[in-house]
């Protein structure tokens, strides 16, 4: 066991897989010499050398195209898109090429690749460097989508992503990079498509993702002080979606809340709410409620950003009110 930051866990997960399999290579802007703009790839160049850890031009389409072409011909690349906002300039490669090629070729082409990216807000970077876009990826058939919230999960899910023969979008939360957690020694391999109950409870189920997980946990602490026992589930994987864990929790608590950093419309919680309404309706003791960032671009000023993103306080207040009414 060692205390590790979330950012160091990213490098540890990649290193673990690079040691095991020399087909694993890493490309991206500033990932090699500089160790990444968020320092998530520190030490990889030193350990694996310039043939396997490669700095690229600012050419997001070329980066992802290279990852795709390499994956279809025998490598298992990890490609970094520095800020997830930049997917807007290379979304063609992700959506039209990477996501669809296996299907269109009737399974002839296999694409074992990972696209890692810094996602989300809380760092006062303003509207073009703070978006939570995992729901964009979730909307595209053919992409697996994970968002770890703890250092241990970062390592294990990165390993699972690298070992997957499907393309995986790996959303690191920028707001969590400096957070710390215990990480067991030795290799860790998690599995995609699994949610985790972070805190058991009996009165309400709160689903959260990425940086919303610690906030939901803090909200659950507050709620406990007010006599409400909230179960917090870290969704972790949007595709595949662990509906079994979610619906079973709902059947025990009778109430469902989602805490989403994405802007309101069509956030990931909307899909889960619709599944719960269809399949968990008779377990519900009250309305499903989504707690999201409003449908606005994220403002830059710290006071405004804090105001609009779901917080422990706003989650606790919303849940408490809902349970009282």
């Amino acid at each position: 066991m060692a205390q590790l930051t979330y950012r160091d866990a990213v490098a540890r997960g990649i290193a673990q897989e690079m040691r095991r399999d020399e087909r694993v290579v890493l490309i991206g802007e500033d990932v090699a010499g500089a160790g990444g703009v968020f320092k998530t790839t520190v030490g990889l160049l030193a350990e694996f050398g310039p043939k396997r850890v490669i700095d690229t031009p600012i050419s997001e389409q070329a980066i992802l195209g290279a990852a795709m072409g390499a994956a279809m011909t025998g490598l298992r690349p990890v490609a970094e898109i520095m800020f997830s906002d930049f997917f807007a300039v290379c979304w063609d490669i992700v959506v039209n090429e990477i996501a669809k090629t296996r299907y269109m070729t009737d399974g002839q082409v296999v694409l074992p690749l990972v696209i890692k990216t810094g996602n989300g807000g809380g760092l006062r970077f303003g509207a073009q460097h703070s978006q939570s876009i995992e729901n964009w990826a979730m909307a595209v058939p053919g992409l697996k989508v994970v968002t770890p919230s703890t250092p241990e999960d970062v390592v294990g899910l990165m390993a699972a992503a690298v070992r997957s023969d499907d393309p995986v979008m790996f959303f690191e939360h920028k707001g969590l990079y400096s957070s710390k957690g215990e990480v067991p020694d030795g290799d860790i391999v998690d599995s995609l498509g699994t949610a985790k109950i972070r805190r058991p409870g009996t009165d309400a189920t709160i689903l959260a993702l990425g940086m919303m997980v610690p906030r939901a946990l803090a909200a659950a602490d507050q709620l406990a002080g007010r006599g409400i026992s909230a179960e917090v589930i870290d969704v972790r994987s949007l595709v595949p979606l662990d509906t079994a864990t979610i619906l079973s929790s709902l059947s025990r608590t009778g109430r469902l809340f989602t805490v989403e950093e994405n802007p309101r419309l069509l956030g990931w919680g909307a899909e889960i709410a619709s599944i719960a309404a269809e399949e968990g309706f008779w377990d519900l003791d009250g309305p499903i409620q989504r707690i999201t960032t409003p449908h606005i671009p994220l403002p830059s000023a710290d006071s405004l950003e804090d105001l609009v993103m779901p917080s422990a306080d706003s989650v606790a207040t919303t849940v408490e009110k809902a349970l009282q009414s």
């Binding site: 290279a66 011909t73 025998g74 070729t105 399974g107 499907d166």
Partner: protein, 354 residues
């Protein structure tokens, strides 16, 4: 301000006429066996594409199709110059490039018809022909993307040390999208074993490339900015293509990096489907049709001593193969309904939840 349609009416721009130096490659050092092989491929492509057009008009080919009629020499010349494990990346105009790699006609035809015996069981269609076992790594329908993907295959070949080369075909119109520029720089920076081949047929869909591009040679003139060697060649002369292809591929295989070939050519028909191509000056169309790569190549072979009867036999054999492929494609079953739900994921299925 100078606007494309301010100095001439639509379709009445200055014609670009074909080169007329066809005899110059008669003496090139190319095996006669290679040349008759190229001739057979030219015939396969021509006759296959003509049949695909007929089947489209009979509404057996649905949706869309983009034919290479008139442009066959590029696919045939490159196909002959490639090693069997080299990689081809093509566009939606990819039937000829698929045949060039030795993919049999029946699955290609059946794919156009949406049948279960199609190359991708009817799930890809005309614009996405792929046969990994033949090195045909795909046909891509979003302009520009596949140049970046070809880089990746070249990078992987370089990394694995296999000596494979990626050859990436695209149109003149593709040189104005960002991915083209990203890909050329990227390939040059890492000295990737990739050959970029611009099939310059003078038109994008319905607009002359000269009207909306600042330089004369849309691909070659840009290549130099990325430190890429380039050559502009007669894309209707299969020997010129074969020679340029061999040189570019060998250079890439030897670790000397990427290069670009801009091959001038022309499509005999429209952009896609039943487009009559009326936006082209009539005398331009006539001149290029007269500079047809297939009769030109046949005439060369005859000059070099090949019997007409031998060439007639090839034509006839190919006609038989196209007939058979047509029959087998039409006789193919429709895809099973279940197949719509397979192979989204590597586990073979399409499930997104438990």
């Amino acid at each position: 301000m100078k606007l494309p349609l301010s100095d001439h009416e639509y379709g009445e721009h200055g014609a670009v006429l074909p080169p007329q130096n066809h005899a110059t490659h008669d003496g090139a050092d190319i095996d006669l066996a290679v040349r008759t092989g190229i001739y057979r491929k030219l015939q396969e492509m021509r006759q296959f594409e003509s049949r695909a057009y007929d089947l489209f008009m009979r509404q057996l080919v649905k949706g869309t199709s983009h034919l290479s009629l008139g442009m066959e020499a590029i696919a045939a010349g490159f196909g002959a110059a490639m090693r069997s494990d080299d990689y081809t990346f093509a566009t939606y105009r990819g039937h000829a490039h698929t045949l060039a790699r030795g993919v049999p006609m029946t699955p290609v035809m059946a794919e156009l018809l949406g049948r279960s015996n199609g190359l991708m069981s009817g799930k890809g269609g005309s614009m996405h022909l792929t046969s990994v076992e033949h090195g045909m790594m795909g046909s891509y329908a979003i302009i520009g993307a596949h140049l970046t993907i070809a880089n990746g295959a070249a990078w992987s070949a370089q990394y694995r040390g296999t000596g494979q080369v990626a050859v990436c075909f695209f149109g003149d119109g593709t040189t104005n999208i960002g991915a083209f520029h990203e890909a050329l720089n990227y390939a040059a920076v890492y000295r990737l074993p990739v050959v970029f081949v611009c099939e310059n047929n003078l038109y994008m869909e319905y607009t002359a490339i000269a009207d909306i591009t600042a330089v004369q040679h849309p691909a070659a003139d840009r290549a130099s900015a990325y430190g890429l060697g380039s050559q502009v060649i007669d894309g209707n002369d299969a020997d010129a293509v074969y020679l340029a292809a061999s040189a570019a591929i060998e250079r890439a295989r030897a670790g000397e990096g990427p290069s670009l070939v801009e091959a001038l050519t022309y499509r005999h028909g429209g952009h896609s489907r039943a487009d009559p191509g009326k936006y082209r000056p009539e005398h331009e169309v006539a001149a290029w049709k007269a500079y047809d790569p297939i009769p030109l190549y046949r005439a060369r072979l005859v000059r070099l001593g090949v019997e007409e009867a031998e060439l007639d036999l090839i034509d006839k054999e190919v006609a038989g193969a196209v007939d058979l492929a047509t029959e087998e494609a039409i006789a193919g079953d429709l895809p099973s309904p279940e197949s719509a739900f397979t192979d989204v994921w590597a586990d073979g299925g399409s499930s997104w939840r438990n």
